[in-house]
Symmetry: C3
Subunit: 312 residues, 3 copies
Amino acid sequence: MKLKGKDLLGIEGLDREEIELLLSTAESFKEVSEREIKKVPTLRGKTIINLFYEPSTRTRTSFEIAAKRMSADAVNISVSTSSASKGETLRDTAMNLGAMRPDCIVVRHSSSGTPEMLSRYLSCPVVNAGDGAHEHPSQALLDMLTVRERKGAIEGLKVSIIGDIVHSRVARSNIYGFTKMGAEVTVAGPPTMLPVGIERLGCRATSSMEEAVRGADVIMMLRIQLERQSESFFPSAREYSRLYGLDETKLKNAKEGVIILHPGPINRGVEISPEVADGPYSVILDQVTNGVAVRMAIFYLLVGGAREEHHV
Amino acid sequence: MKLKGKDLLGIEGLDREEIELLLSTAESFKEVSEREIKKVPTLRGKTIINLFYEPSTRTRTSFEIAAKRMSADAVNISVSTSSASKGETLRDTAMNLGAMRPDCIVVRHSSSGTPEMLSRYLSCPVVNAGDGAHEHPSQALLDMLTVRERKGAIEGLKVSIIGDIVHSRVARSNIYGFTKMGAEVTVAGPPTMLPVGIERLGCRATSSMEEAVRGADVIMMLRIQLERQSESFFPSAREYSRLYGLDETKLKNAKEGVIILHPGPINRGVEISPEVADGPYSVILDQVTNGVAVRMAIFYLLVGGAREEHHV
Amino acid sequence: MKLKGKDLLGIEGLDREEIELLLSTAESFKEVSEREIKKVPTLRGKTIINLFYEPSTRTRTSFEIAAKRMSADAVNISVSTSSASKGETLRDTAMNLGAMRPDCIVVRHSSSGTPEMLSRYLSCPVVNAGDGAHEHPSQALLDMLTVRERKGAIEGLKVSIIGDIVHSRVARSNIYGFTKMGAEVTVAGPPTMLPVGIERLGCRATSSMEEAVRGADVIMMLRIQLERQSESFFPSAREYSRLYGLDETKLKNAKEGVIILHPGPINRGVEISPEVADGPYSVILDQVTNGVAVRMAIFYLLVGGAREEHHV
């Protein structure tokens, strides 16, 4: 079985079977990272380019480790958007990279739609590692893998995503993913951070934190970009924290066995209190571990999957 | 057969047989990048350092991919010239890197002669990846490979190089290369961009675009460094484009079957019109593909060539 | 035999047997870098992260080459301290990296104690590649290896460390190392650069250059951070050089067969004259070569040593 498209541009374009394929493939790769010798030969002789127009140590490192554990050659390219390729068009960048015959390009860019545009000019698979406020599909996949692992199944769960929904590609990818998998998704945040019409994606929206937490099986807290938006969208970090920060008091209304996710890096004491971040219900570090496995699965299915019978 | 010197510092120092050896070796490596498994074990256990004092995503990536497809270990070092090694002399940098026992150092630097100076202090091969306005030999080799591929032979061709000749290491390396291979080279550009006495390199010089294009088998357009020189050397990008930019009208005077090269990244609408850049005579993407093969050949001949009978 | 701790945080925490184990292991790895094929399979499938909060081309390159010659996968992360992980705490950074299951993290940071703090949150080994003015253990090990190689043994040697002792992690690690190995250590520098109470580490301190040089078997000159401290700690580079710079005249009082070390990069004409830096007693380049071997030994003993019987 394989994915239908040549790329992974977003969760919106996947159907439930494809998501399940990605999750179960990732599950089978998890043990590679727990071995003494963390390496499978699956992608030997493949070139994977990590093309990052936004700095992201964490995501780039996860993709790079995934590529190397599959025995691929990983090549990192960081472009500061200011000097982006000396004014070269994105189409020219795509076609030039393609001419070097990579087997996959992982791209992060501050503009929505960049991975899709690249993919049009490239015969190799393109993986979206985050584009503007659009999608971040590998993040949603690792979130779903983490939830499925802890809860057994995603179907029927109440999932609440809380924070700056309007700017969050993580939120969008997760709304698509969890609703496709049969969960009930609620998004919550200050009214200024809730996009108008978000319900059309199949979720409920509320600006009541209490409502979002009550009865939730899964709570996903989003990072507040203190450096960027604090002034325009809410009065102060303290104000935000008081109303929408998750602490143990607010958490009491959640369902027993609730689990807490966060895409990281966390702002301790702003959107999440230290007690919650480090508490027994927190699965934040599982997310990071699952991130490597999910990215191995993405590479396997897009780069190596169609051509091989088995991978280990 | 092998190269005479230990380094590749420029095309000036090569004779025709060496250029032919490099081109035919590159040809034999081209198919590696078209394989399912893009990897040969030739340089396993060799350390190749990419030492870049000027940022260059494109050239560094090409060298890095070439090294990895040969199974070498590639180590990237980028030095911002401003903080260059905390004031260490170039000689000390060379000797320190040499003490780590690399098998090859690829160097790009804004000062002409830097690779030559490094090579004096290093027993390992040094490859010039562009030094000031001096030479960029791997670029000229990939250009020659591309022309030979399309035209069958280089001997007797009319090759015109158009643009900012005075600042262009690409132009210099190509003048050396194409004249050594028996082509007739014409360089063209605004009078302020034509170096005095350039004819001594064996080429003709003209400031007439029409003259440069008429009867040409090969036209190589150079990148205009808009960010740097526009004010001093010509009145405006629009003015430059009108006089020296290649478009379909100007191209009509070229020979039938003319091919268009450009070292990239291109400024669409400045030195080259989109129609020409994307037209059927454009071989710009072939150049990029051939770049990887040429760099594999350079590594093979300098690092692995003398010691092995066959490479695949 | 193996090291007692899981990490290499400093020389202070090692006993003499452990230092000797590290040195003799490094000696056995030296020949790998002199081979035609510079590679052993010892750490295949291991992930080594180089986490550098301070830029350091030289040290990072040495660790990266060491990792690759052991067949490990090396992943470089450079963090500018200013934007350090978007305000994430160091503990969170540690736990997140740990969740990706690296086999070793090499860390450099401008704050003393950072590697120790990281190690508390990580089950994998942590190697200190320099923390503030605290320690730089791999540097001291390569210094000791170089001295032992040249002098046969360290026991009983007179070792003088000269320069900015107060800010130097290299000095601290070497004071610990050489005194543990039975050498007599003297530190020297302008009074403003001699830490109060440094004698408690087991060394003598003097602000007399003549006293430091007289009878020395080993002289280690430290780099003066011209860019940072010149104004506050001594009147001028010229003044410093006249009083504490090592030249051939001052060197005459040293013991016959004296050897000169410097951690690099050197300021020619400031703390060391060109004649001395390039003279026959200089072992500066040996230090660099030994650096790769020492780092291979560190990786072997921490990552691969406990689990394997032989390494080549």
